[in-house]
Symmetry: C2
Subunit: 494 residues, 2 copies
């Protein structure tokens, strides 16, 4: 039987069994798995192990200093091996009480404009829904073809929503096993609200930190807030934090940390070609409407706006707090102030480099007392569009009638650098048809009709990848389209 015939049979199998598939997804997402407070984590790890074993894999739950990783191996004797990366944890719902149309773990199907039937549940899109759909796709392949077209290694972590702090522990422990793989696949639906497939080849890096200013030797109240009238003789940690923040970025939007932009690379040759195509299709209006924004920064439009989005490092203030923040009045000179900051890094910036520059800057500007408390650090990561796994995904989209819009990267961050950098040096691809949204928000959804297409596209991708040529182990095609074995995430500066 030719591949195309097999594919058609499997797609039909998915259509015929879709009600059952949907029920299986509902069952999986209804099981809460909140890594922030531990709710249902143990049960969900067990369920996830069961999913791997159910398609014939060997699986074990690997402990870390945080939540365990569900590891699995499924060797079908195929030429190619894919790591299936995923997570079994979801965001908390505590802060969203009363904001859900249906209870967040009821797994209900709700009519949502303009999409029609949607499965609404915490984690249904990010990412337990797509993960369960992936296993549905594998079940259908097994039912029709008897075996999977690629070998699989599963690495399903339980701390993605907490910043993947202990995932590297697992990678270190299973380095030998993981190195057998040719590429990494992260199942995540890529159609936007309008149905267009937007494919991203990478992510920005991130440093998430608290900047904390407390009263001390420099001045200010040291133990508690005091009556604000004393501000005439006692300095303020709040003002001090504001002045310090003001030295990081000026009102024109420029980041003013010394040499901050030193390693920022302009688009390379491959990216320049992608941008040329994007110029024709990039839809700024969709972004403006989805996010209720009346004006983009510096009144940028079109490709200039997209370039800013993809190529500019940022310093964002996620939150700031000090003193009395309630209604009405309370006169207090606070003794402490805190800002929560995320810095997003583009190629070739590195987290350690930027942390050092920031700390040096604060010392130099006279704020050595301001504490820099680092929460998470991810390096940026990016795979070349020419990589076999990416090309296989593009071919899969095209077979399903979609011409994907390809972005060099997403402005967001994810821990792909763990795969992309030494010692693994693996290319990665994120993909699948289907549309979901409101991740980290109430009424997180996954469009039901899209789930069916998602499963079919996964099957197509796996067969397309299986037939692509074998890549040379330990060498990775970087984003510049050049091969390097020493520093795979580093691009040659243009």
């Amino acid at each position: 039987m030719k591949t195309q015939q097999v594919l058609k049979k499997i797609h039909n199998h998915i259509s015929r069994h879709f009600n059952q598939h949907l029920k299986q997804i509902q069952e999986y997402v209804r099981q809460p798995s909140i890594s922030a407070d531990g709710t249902g984590m143990k049960e969900t790890a067990e369920m996830t192990r069961g999913l791997i074993e159910n398609i014939g894999g060997a699986s074990k739950i690997v402990p870390t200093d945080g939540w365990p990783v569900v590891y699995g191996e499924l060797n079908t004797g195929a030429k190619k091996t894919l790591i299936i990366y995923g997570m079994y944890d979801v965001q908390p719902v505590e802060e969203e009480k009363g904001m859900w149309l249906v209870p967040p773990f009821a797994g209900k199907i709700v009519n949502m404009k303009p999409f029609g039937k949607c499965l609404v549940n915490r984690g249904v899109y990010n990412t337990k829904g797509p993960l369960r759909a992936f296993f549905n796709a594998c079940q259908s392949i097994l039912a029709v073809a008897g075996k999977l077209p690629v070998n699989m290694i599963f690495a399903i972590e339980g701390e993605e929503e907490l910043g993947s702090a202990h995932f590297p522990q697992f990678v270190q422990k299973y380095e030998k096993e993981l190195k057998k793989a040719d590429a990494v696949f992260f199942p995540l639906p890529q159609q936007n609200v309008k149905g267009k497939v937007v494919m991203t080849l990478g992510v920005k890096g991130i440093i998430y930190m608290d900047l904390i200013c407390k009263g001390g030797k420099w001045g200010g109240p040291t133990k508690r807030g005091i009556h604000s009238s004393f501000h005439a003789m006692v300095d303020s940690p709040v003002w001090r934090l504001i002045w310090a923040l003001n030295t990081l970025k000026s009102a024109d939007g420029k980041i003013t940390i010394e040499n901050f932009y030193e390693n920022v690379s302009p688009p390379n040759e491959e990216e320049a070609q992608l941008l040329k195509k994007l110029e024709k299709t990039f839809d700024e209006e969709a972004i403006r409407k989805e996010h209720d924004v009346l004006r983009f920064t510096e009144d940028l439009h079109g490709i200039e706006l997209l370039k800013r989005y993809l190529y500019a490092p940022i310093i964002n203030i996620d939150g700031i707090t000090a003193g009395y923040t309630g209604e009405g009045t309370k006169t207090v000179l606070p003794h402490t102030a805190k800002a929560k900051i995320d810095i997003r890094l583009v190629p070739q910036m590195r987290t350690d480099e930027i942390i050092n520059k920031l700390k040096k800057h604060l010392r130099k500007k006279g704020y050595p007392d301001i504490k820099v408390k680092i929460h998470d650090c991810y390096q940026w990561a990016q795979t070349s569009v020419k990589e076999e796994c990416v090309q296989a995904m593009i071919r899969a989209y095209k077979q399903h009638g979609h011409e994907p819009e390809i972005w060099p990267r997403l402005a967001g961050s994810a821990p792909f650098y763990i795969f992309n950098q030494p010692p693994l040096n693996l290319p990665f691809v994120i993909g699948g048809l289907g549309h979901g949204g409101k991740m980290h928000s109430p009424n997180e959804y996954f469009v039901v009709e899209g789930i069916k297409n998602n499963e079919k596209s996964i099957v197509t991708f796996l067969y397309e990848y299986a037939k692509s040529r074998k890549r040379k182990k330990g060498r990775i095609r970087n984003a510049a389209g050049k091969s390097t074995s020493s520093l795979p995430t580093q691009r040659l500066p243009l």
Copy 2:
């Protein structure tokens, strides 16, 4: 009987009946009266009316658009008439759960180092304890002398802890009655932690406001926080608020609003004399220790520090909030940011003048969208040390063996301008022996032995004031020691 003999008898009467007096204070403070949520306000207004009627006054509860004012008149045919200003409301205790040694409305007596026996209760110092002690003092006068030495008008408000927003309504309604008075007396114990009497002749003005920056036409997300990665193309209301705040005050502590210091007066002749005396007695170490401060602003010391405290206007940030402020990480570009600000005004600054300058400044600096939401406005107020009511209080302190340290003003604020300015034009005095503390905090206390001295000092003050010369109505001796009938709170610039 000579005044001194009468005084002695009354003081003895207080000593003999002090247990009963203490019980009466306990009973009054145990009745909660939280203006913020309304708890016990009605009952306490009734109790307060009862106190006035109990010493022979006529009283009524005067409605306002907020909590009512307890008004009273007691005409004894004396030459002098005092307005007794006070409040029957107290601060909330909700936020202080678990922080009290005893329940906040149990009226318990607790041993507190280094003071010994203290009555611990919300409002026991600020100011229901001193108010009830005032009535105890009056009862003792009546028991011994048969009548009070001065006529009294009572104006006991129920919204001081909310900013006295509707007290001017009452003053307008009762202008004719209030104008009969010669001065205003606010009973509040004035001994500090070391037992020293620190007498203050006035208060700074205050403007309490929120500065709010929201996403809008200028940029930023307008309806909710969005994923922080979009900060590369969408501006931030938090950064905007920080940049705007930074234009208000520079890192060297100077306020940079145009012409902000224009009407700030240096010490006048009377104040210069007071400061000369203060140079010898001002105890900066007591303030440093009480407030846990390691370094005063600009390393100021001694009289230079005190002058900064009393003569510098300030802009304090009472609180600031935006976005995610919890533990760990959440990446969000917030759509709104708020700072709570208090500006303290010294003579001759005026609230309307400063609000206009601030708004003009924000417009000029490019922040016309930042909303200035005013909560409270008090003008500064100050009475000359030469005023009869002040001199009577000084004489009373001296008779009880205390040489008061006299400060031109407190750096804090209170609504005395309502009495001090047209149409009432009345001088005011704050006073009484005794020590209390932790107002607006858990374990608010009033030292028991000090309560006895407080009542006695009140009696002495009333007799001293009764014999002072009659002042000319409608004319007020201002802080410069000069008489003016047109603008009593305005001093001649030096």
